[in-house]
């Protein structure tokens, strides 16, 4: 293994499912012609050069592997292999200590917008640098033919910049106008193209003033802001896409004559018989034909206790099969399954959020008409006063150039880039800038229980009252099972116990059985493992109806579990309350389970046993009362509510649809990510308003100078650069705030928490 501790930083691997079958790998691979295939894997724990080396060596050593290449920025490995059989990629990676999962390249695609933006920045930068050089010569006194030559060369250089870089703004402005809307790109496009047209006219007529440098450097500045904005969002998107996929890609279909075939989910139709191995998720709704197992329903219904199921039981897509293999009959195709129903509910609910208008758009809707009107009035005024239409036109265009919203165009995105970067470092992914604007406004936060406030994993709570020898035996037995209770017990495994376990077997729905030196040990359900208690005290049923360890039918230990509350949940909630956000809990789980968690976290308002539609109604009722609702949830059943809320946050362990619909996704285990996101968003909102203020002050000073006809290209260049730098500098203050502030290390659990509690504000 290498220097790094994979998985320590991000709380991703606790959902690690079984390795995908080779049929599934093949389904996710791309054929490159011949018998060459390419498979993309996401390996979240790659950190350094040693990791790269270990992974590339381990994979290249496998038979039939052509090449393996690690991309450290995106934490991915691209493997090319040939032949019919898939090489054991996952086993090789697992042995090297790097858990991996399949990655769908078609989801990510190649980022065409980014390369277009970077190309535009490069061209604009080249043009801006060269025109500025020539302009400085003109400003320092070039005259006559030399000045004309410099102007002509500038005009020539500016053309590709205008087409390449300006095209982005022209298209966006045209698009906005066609839909009858106004955005910041409209005044930018008008300003840039008029500046170029007037300068060209001046150059042809041997004029003194040309604004080529202004129009090109304006584009350059704005494009830098736009590119950074895009890069930030793209990084967040890549990180979210790289999370392991929870929805199954396909399932093994039995054809009734002993044959089996792996089919993608989309090709599964009702009445097919499917084989679901332990550790796989149910792909479509159906009923169980044969087999007994425990199902983890936390993503589907929010229930924290696994459900024991047998033949005849109905099951829903998205449940996780924990212990035994099942044969099920599909009753619905994937497009009619539970998941699809959630997507429909989600789309129906998505009306509210699309109505939100970004701050920048609202400002430009006011700003653009005002400046265009000011330019028109200037033109009319000079015509009336001097009667020289050329002079009136020049001054009117100078007004447009000086008011061209360079600072305004940067005011919002630059702050959001700095804020998103700040959150990214704390493991919170921001999908887009408007999410931060909306989060800054929230006054009510709704939390899902299972998987959000809690980890959705049971924790053993009476370990200290159990005989250590018995606990060690139980832990050894539990290590053989995937049941969440077993995993909780197995965590207490100490040094290997003295007893050698033989013939450990799992009885799905009941528990584990093992034999040692003639004794039969059973770990599991009370009624199955044994009834007789060794002592009276241990006979009481513990939390989840009693999980016991028995020796030859005698109960020797009783285990009590509770759903473990997420680290720092209590502190996170109280921090939110302090910042004026009221908190409620919505859950699909039983009233009893909700009462326990609500009591532990001090939540007063909670609603148990809610169906997905019930959660949406809850959100909508609050919205109607005028509240701005933040929804935090992870399950499939929360997805419609995530879409209905004003803004939403999901943990990395959420269902795939939930992660896609949520505005923020946090990758670490600590719930402090939520107050941090609110805090940074509010701070960003304040800085955005300050920046808009700076831009308006700049205009208040510059516009009168322009209207009075005193603006030269030199003054325009200085004024515009100065205002842009001011705005950028102000945005950087967010970085300073966060470095010194409390939430610097929310991942470090208790310590970060203690610091946050001591926070002065």
């Amino acid at each position: 293994m290498s220097c790094c501790a994979p998985g320590a930083e991000m709380a991703l691997d606790y959902t690690a499912a079984v390795m995908p079958s080779s049929a599934e790998i093949k389904l996710a691979s791309r054929a490159l012609g011949g018998d060459l295939h390419q498979t993309d894997l996401s390996v979240p724990s790659v950190h350094c050069a040693a990791c790269i080396h270990t992974i590339e060596t381990a994979l290249s050593k496998l038979d039939h592997v052509e090449s393996a290449r690690v991309n450290l920025s995106t934490r991915r490995v691209t493997v090319r292999w040939h032949g019919e059989n898939v090489p054991p990629l996952f086993a090789a990676l697992g042995r090297s200590g790097y858990p991996a999962h399949l990655f769908d390249p078609e989801v990510a695609g190649k980022d065409k917008t980014l390369s277009e933006l970077i190309r535009a920045v490069a061209v604009a930068g080249f043009a801006a640098g060269n025109t500025m050089l020539l302009s400085v010569s003109v400003w320092s006194g070039a005259e006559g033919a030399t000045r004309d030559l410099f102007h002509w060369v500038s005009a020539l250089i500016a053309i590709p910049a205008l087409f390449f870089a300006g095209g982005i703004y022209f298209r966006s402005a045209a698009n906005a106008l066609r839909h009858g809307r106004m955005n910041m790109d409209v005044p930018i496009a008008v300003g840039v193209s008029l500046a170029y047209a007037m300068s060209l006219y001046e150059t042809i007529n041997h004029g003194e003033h040309a604004y080529f440098d202004a129009s090109v450097s304006l584009l350059f500045f704005l494009l830098i802001g736009r590119t950074l904005d895009h890069v930030m969002r793209e990084r967040a998107r890549t990180a979210v896409n790289g999370l392991s996929r929870l929805a199954p890609r396909g399932a093994v279909v039995l054809d009734g004559e002993g044959g089996r075939e792996y089919l993608p989910v989309s090709e599964i139709v009702p009445h097919m018989h499917l084989l679901i191995a332990a550790g796989e998720r149910i792909p479509v709704d159906g009923t169980i034909v044969s087999g007994t197992s425990d199902l983890d329903c936390s993503l589907v219904s929010g229930e924290s206790t696994p459900r024991t199921v047998g033949a005849g039981a109905p099951i829903q897509a998205g449940m996780l099969n924990l212990t035994g293999p099942l044969t099920m009959e599909a009753t619905a195709a994937a497009k009619d399954s539970f998941l699809a129903e959630m997507v429909r509910l989600m789309e129906a609910a998505e009306g509210g959020r699309s109505k939100y208008r970004r701050i920048a758009d609202r400002v430009s809707a006011l700003y653009a008409p005002v400046v265009h009107l000011a330019a028109l009035l200037t033109f009319l005024g000079w015509m009336a006063a001097a009667g020289d239409w050329h002079r009136a036109m020049t001054i009117a265009i100078a007004v447009l150039i000086i008011t061209c919203p360079c600072a305004l165009g940067l005011a919002v995105p630059i702050v959001q880039v700095v804020a998103a970067r700040r959150l990214f470092e704390a493991g919170v992914m921001v999908k887009d800038g408007s999410a931060m604007e909306r989060l800054a406004m929230v006054d009510t936060a709704l939390f899902d229980k299972t998987g959000t406030l809690t980890l959705g994993q049971p924790r053993l709570i009476n370990a200290s009252s159990i005989d250590p020898t018995m606990l060690a035996i139980a832990a050894d037995m539990a290590a053989h099972s995937r049941h969440p209770f077993s995993k909780a017990i197995a965590r207490f495994a100490t040094s290997p116990s003295q007893l050698r376990l033989e013939a450990v077997s799992e009885h799905p729905g009941f528990g584990m059985e093992a034999v040692t030196e003639g004794n039969t040990w059973r770990l599991g359900r009370r009624g199955w493992a044994g009834w007789k208690a060794r002592t009276g005290g241990e006979g009481k049923a513990g939390g989840y109806g009693g999980t016991v360890l028995t020796k030859n039918g005698m109960i020797v230990a009783t285990f009590a579990f509770e759903d473990a509350v997420r680290a720092d949940a209590k502190l996170a909630l109280s921090t939110l309350r302090d910042s004026g956000v009221s908190i409620q809990m919505l859950s699909g789980d039983t009233a009893k389970a909700c009462r326990e968690v609500a009591g532990a976290l001090g939540i007063e308002d909670y609603a148990p046993s809610l169906l997905p539609a019930g959660k949406v109604e809850w959100v909508e009722a609050l919205t109607r009362q005028g509240h701005k609702v933040l929804m935090v949830g992870d399950g499939l059943n929360d997805t419609p509510a995530l879409a209905a809320a004003h803004v939403s946050i999901a943990p990395a362990t959420a269902a795939d649809v939930g992660r896609n619909v949520a505005d923020f996704v946090f990758l670490r285990e600590s719930l402090l990510a939520v107050p941090l996101a609110v805090e940074v968003s509010r701070k960003a909102g304040r800085l955005i308003r300050q920046n808009l203020g700076i831009a308006i002050v700049y205009n208040a000073i510059a516009v009168p100078i322009a209207i009075s006809g005193h603006v030269t290209p030199l003054i325009a260049a200085i004024a515009m650069s100065a205002s842009s730098l001011l705005v950028i500098g102000n945005a950087m203050r967010l970085q300073g705030f966060s470095k010194g502030a409390s939430f610097a290390s929310p991942s470090k659990g208790g310590r970060g928490g203690a610091d946050a509690a001591a926070r002065p504000s």
């Binding site: 050069a49 790269i52 060596t57 393996a68 450290l72 920025s73 970077i118 490069a122 080249f126």
Partner: protein, 50 residues
């Protein structure tokens, strides 16, 4: 003044050369994995799998 006839084209040509170089690097994937490039320098060449 006549020097300008040479100097301006030379300056523009050099600038355009840099721009072309950047666009080439962008297209050929040199910027795909910046973090990886920074780390790979630490690996010895003969250690690398072919």
């Amino acid at each position: 003044m006549t020097t300008l006839v040479y100097l301006i084209p030379v300056a523009l040509f050099l600038g355009a050369l840099g721009l072309a170089g950047f666009l080439w690097a962008l297209r050929s994937g040199q910027y795909e994995d910046l973090d990886g490039a920074a780390e790979r320098i630490l690996l010895d060449r003969d250690e690398l799998p072919k």
